[in-house]
Structure formats: C-alpha cells, structure tokens
C-alpha cells in the first residue's frame, strides 16, 4: 500500500479479514483443489479435500474453471448458507486463486432499495392492469347501456304498436258491438212486429228502418180481392181435411205470386184474400201490378181447377180490383195490433170481387183507364154493387198485352 504506513496497512488487512470474512481456494491446472484457507466455514466450505476436483467440492465454481481471463469477478453470489460473497479469480503461477469476500451487508442494503423499487413497479403495473380492466368494464357497460337503450326504443315501438292495435281492436269491438246491438235491436223489433204483422210485412217494415210508416195515414192504393166461387157449398159438403188440403194448395199457389208482384197481403179470410199495392211501402204503377197479379192468379187457379174438377169440386175463381185513397195504419190495442186499410176503395174492390163470375177480373173504369197500356179490358157496363149508393162502371180484364 503505497504511501500508507505499514502499521495502518496491517490494521486495514486485519479489519478487511474480520469484516469481509476473507477465504480463498487454490486450484491447479488439473482443476484439483491444491490449497484453501481463511474463513471457509463462513461459506459452508469446511472439510475441503486437497487434491480432489475443486468444482465437485465448491459447486459454485462449476462452469468457471479454468477461468477464461483473469482477474475476473463474480459479484454478490449468495451461497446456500445465506451469505453473499464477491468471487475474485486470480492467476498465480500455474494455479488459480479464488478469493471470497463477504458482501452480505451490501447485498441486504441493495435488496432493501431494489425491493422498494420493484414493489413500486409492481404496484404501478397492477394499477395499470386494474385501469385497463376498469376501462374494459366501462366499455362493456357502455355497450350494455347502448343495447339497453336500443331495447328500450324497440320496446317503446312495440308498445306503441300494441297500443295502436289495441285502439284499432277497441274500435272494431265498438263497431261490432254497435252492429250486434243494431242486429239485436232489429231482431227485437222483428220479434215485436211479428207478433202483430205477417212476417213478410214485418220484414218489410224492419228493412225500411222506419216504423213511422205504421202510423195512420192516407194513400192512393190499388186493392185486390179474390175468392173462390162455390166455396161455401163445397165446405159444407166436403170433409174438413179436404177443405184444408184444397185451401193449402190454393194459398200455396197464390201467396208466391203476391210476393212476386210485391203486393201487401192484408189477410186471409177462408178462401178470400185481400192484397193491396203502394203501401206500406210505395211502389210504381200499383194498378198495373194489381192487374198483373190478378191475371197470374187467374191462370194459376185455372190450373188448379182442372185438378179440382177431376175430384168433382165445382169451384170457380173471381177477382175484384179498385184504386183510390184509403186510410191505413195500425189498428187494435196492446197485445193485438193489426195493420189494415179502411175506406170506400176497399169496399168497392170487395164488392167487385163478389160480383165477378168464375174467371172474371172486375175493375173500375177509372182503373181500366190507368192500365189501358198494359191490359186488354172489356167494358161490362154499370153495375149496382151492394153498399154503394151509385152504380159503378165496371170492366173485365181479358188479358195482358204483350210486352
């Protein structure tokens, strides 16, 4: 130690040896241990055998022998004993020296600093990782929020659609209820009317939607009466079943014709029928319709009469038609109403019917004038009819004119 007094150098050597736990190993070129000394125990190297392979006894030398270049230092090597040493490799003559200097204190100091630094770095890494996860979670939440908002919009649209459909359904329901109520009302009206009127008349009134037509009123109508000649005598001599069967065929033949000509069937009285036109619902050409119906009736009964004659029923068929104003409307009282016509024209038609012989269709001359274009009529002359003060000019309908 240049410039340092020998005493101080010796003190330093002593201090170094005691503080640094100096030890050494000497290895020859055959890598055998040829020398060892110092504080070998401190490094767990007690019991070394000279002359044997160095690396097998001090295994930390494995790979370092022979050293490629010297001097060479392996710093801070912690041995299984826990002690840390710097390993210094020297070349001396033909041997290598490995000197161990204890650096445990330095190792501990460095570890404290390094530990703090690494702990901080790890904490930062952890924080960064947590931040990334938070950001990912946040992004996922935002995505979920977007999805929820989209779902909510879709739900709102679906709700609106359902509401619209519900409103539409309610409207349909209302319409349906109104229609059902209207139909029920119609049925009720029909049921009520059918108690008092013929079904055809009831249907007519209901379909017209105006029950006021039942109120008493005056109208120009054509009235047709018809009945069978000789029916009273027949009814007296025939069996009731025969009478009923004949009436059934008779009515079955005439009623469809009445409907065909849109006449109002006022009533059946035995073999007699009263039909009028232009009431309760107005119709065009009531006189022509009445005459048309009468001719059809006459033809139909003529066909029936051929059968009757085979049974020896002596029956004829007569018709009377008159036209004029009559009073029409509901007559009767609660529980038994009827719809009928009252007036001279009714009596006139009835009397003309009485006066008609088999096959005749007697009409007033006034009516004959109004159907002159539609029917061929033959004047019969004035007739005194029962219940009428004056004689009446009467005509018979021979046939309908070709259309």
């Amino acid at each position: 130690m240049e410039g340092v007094p020998t005493t101080i150098a010796e003190q330093l050597q002593t201090l170094l040896c005691s503080e640094r736990a100096v030890a050494y190993l000497q290895v020859d070129s055959g890598l055998n241990l040829v020398g060892a000394g110092g504080q070998l125990n401190a490094y767990g190297l007690a019991g070394l055998r000279l002359g044997e392979q160095a690396a097998e006894q001090a295994f930390f030398l494995e790979g370092f022998l022979p050293p490629v270049d010297t001097p060479f230092v392996v710093p801070s090597m912690e041995l299984p004993s826990g002690r840390a040493a710097d390993l210094h490799f020297f070349l001396q003559d033909d041997t290598f020296l490995v000197v161990l200097l204890d650096v445990s204190a330095e190792r501990d100091a460095a570890r404290r600093i390094q530990q703090k630094a690494y702990d901080m770095t790890l904490a930062r890494e952890r924080e960064a990782l947590l931040n990334r996860r938070l950001e990912a979670a946040n992004a996922a939440l935002l995505a979920t929020q977007d999805e929820l908002e989209a779902s909510r919009d879709a739900l709102a649209r679906a709700h609106d659609q359902v509401q619209a459909q519900a409103a539409e359904l309610a409207a349909w329901n209302k319409t349906l209820e109104e229609r059902v109520a209207a139909q029920l009302g119609e049925l009720e009206r029909m049921a009520r009317l059918k108690r008092f009127f013929a079904p055809s008349l009831a249907e007519l009134i209901v379909s017209s939607g105006n029950e006021r037509i039942l109120e008493s009123h005056r109208r120009d109508i054509a009235v047709l009466f018809c009945d069978l000649r000789g029916f009273t005598a027949f009814a007296e001599s025939a069996e009731p079943e025969e009478v009923m069967a004949l009436l059934h065929d008779y009515h079955a033949a005439l009623v469809p014709l009445i409907q065909q000509f849109e006449g109002t069937l006022d009533r059946f009285v035995g073999d007699g029928l009263m039909v009028y036109f232009n009431d309760p619902l107005p119709c065009p050409n009531p006189a022509e319709r009445a005459v048309g119906l009468a001719v059809a009736m006459r033809d139909s009964v003529a066909a029936l009469a051929r059968t009757w004659r085979r049974h020896d029923y002596q029956l004829g068929f007569g018709i009377g038609i008159a036209q004029g104003f009559a009073t029409l409307g509901q007559i009767g009282f609660e529980g038994r109403f009827d719809y009928s016509a009252i007036g001279t024209v009714i009596n006139t038609a009835a009397r003309l019917c009485e006066a008609a012989k088999d096959g005749q269709i007697l009409i007033t001359s006034r009516l004959a004038t109004s159907v002159a274009d539609a029917a061929d009529v033959r004047e019969i002359g004035p007739m005194a009819l029962k219940g009428l003060r004056r004689e009446l000019a009467v005509c018979n309908v021979e046939a309908l004119k070709a259309a």
Partner: protein, 167 residues
C-alpha cells in the same frame, strides 16, 4: 456404477416472475407467499435422477431485472442450459424472456433452454394469449405453464432441461 454429472443452469427472467420460488419449489418442495427480491445471484443445487445417470444441477438464480441491459452476462459463463421464466399474468414479462433468449444466444450460442409461464394457479388473471404460446411451440420452443405455489409442472420442467443438457 452410475455416472454423476454437474451442470450449471441459469434462471433468467424479468423481476417477480417467480424464478426464486421455482428453485425453492424444485429444491426444497416449499413455497413462500412473501416476495423477496434477489440481489446478484443465488446458488443452489439439486440432484436429478435420469434413466441412466444422475445429474447435479447447479442452479444460478439470477436477479430479475426490469432493464435487461443491466443483466450481468458474466454470470452465464459456463452454463450448460437455462430456464426462461415469464409471469403468465404479465404479458410484458414474456417479451423480456424472449429478449433475454436473444442476448444469451448472441453471447453464448444455442444453449438448451425451456420457457416456463409461471403462476398458472392464477388462471383468472392469465393474460398471455394461447396463440402466442402456440407460435413459440411451433418454432421449436419447449414451453410449459407452471405454478411454484402448487408445484404443477416444476419437476417436469427441470427434468426435461436436465435431459437436454446431458444428451
């Protein structure tokens, strides 16, 4: 008589990936939850019985560094092979391992090595992608996931490396 060999193996990897814990699990079959950083290098020894010979592995547990340029390559002098260790929950440590491997190969040539993806017990926090591992395996790397805590894969990894360094 069975021959006994002694081979120097270095443990390399970023700090806090579990190098010391893997050595402790392998040598002493224990695990400590306390993280104690390694300064310099820590030497240990473990004898491994192979099929026809016994190998003493001299394990050089090198201090992990976050700045790999500060790695003392002198520690690797005389190594027969090395263990690269990465933390499966910290992808950056795999990059450090790959970088270390390049440096070792540059300075010491193609030594036998294995790559351990440690902390396999923390699967919920696992962050290394399987595709990355498959790429490394396809390029010839011997890769295993290990857990110093449970011991999973540890003996197998050191045994495999022992075989590689003696063959």
């Amino acid at each position: 008589m069975t021959a006994t060999l002694q081979k120097k193996i270095c443990m390399l990897g970023a700090f806090s990936v579990g190098k010391t814990s893997l050595v402790k699990r392998f040598v002493e079959s224990v695990f400590s939850e306390t993280y104690l950083t390694t300064v310099g290098v820590k030497i240990d020894k473990k004898t491994v019985d192979l099929s026809d010979l016994t190998v003493s592995l001299i394990l050089w547990d090198l201090a992990g560094e976050d700045d790999i340029s500060s790695l003392r390559m002198s520690y690797l002098r005389g190594s027969a092979g090395y263990v690269l260790v990465a933390d499966g929950t910290r992808p950056s440590t795999l990059e450090v391992a790959m970088s270390l491997r390049r440096r070792v190969e540059t300075d010491f040539g193609p030594l036998p090595f294995v790559l351990l993806l440690n902390k396999n017990d923390l699967r919920e926090e696992w962050a290394v992608r399987d595709e990355e591992v498959q790429d490394l395996q396809q390029s010839g790397w011997w890769v295993r996931s290990t857990s110093a805590r449970t011991g999973e894969g540890v003996d197998d990894a050191f045994g495999t490396l022992a075989e590689r360094v003696v063959r």
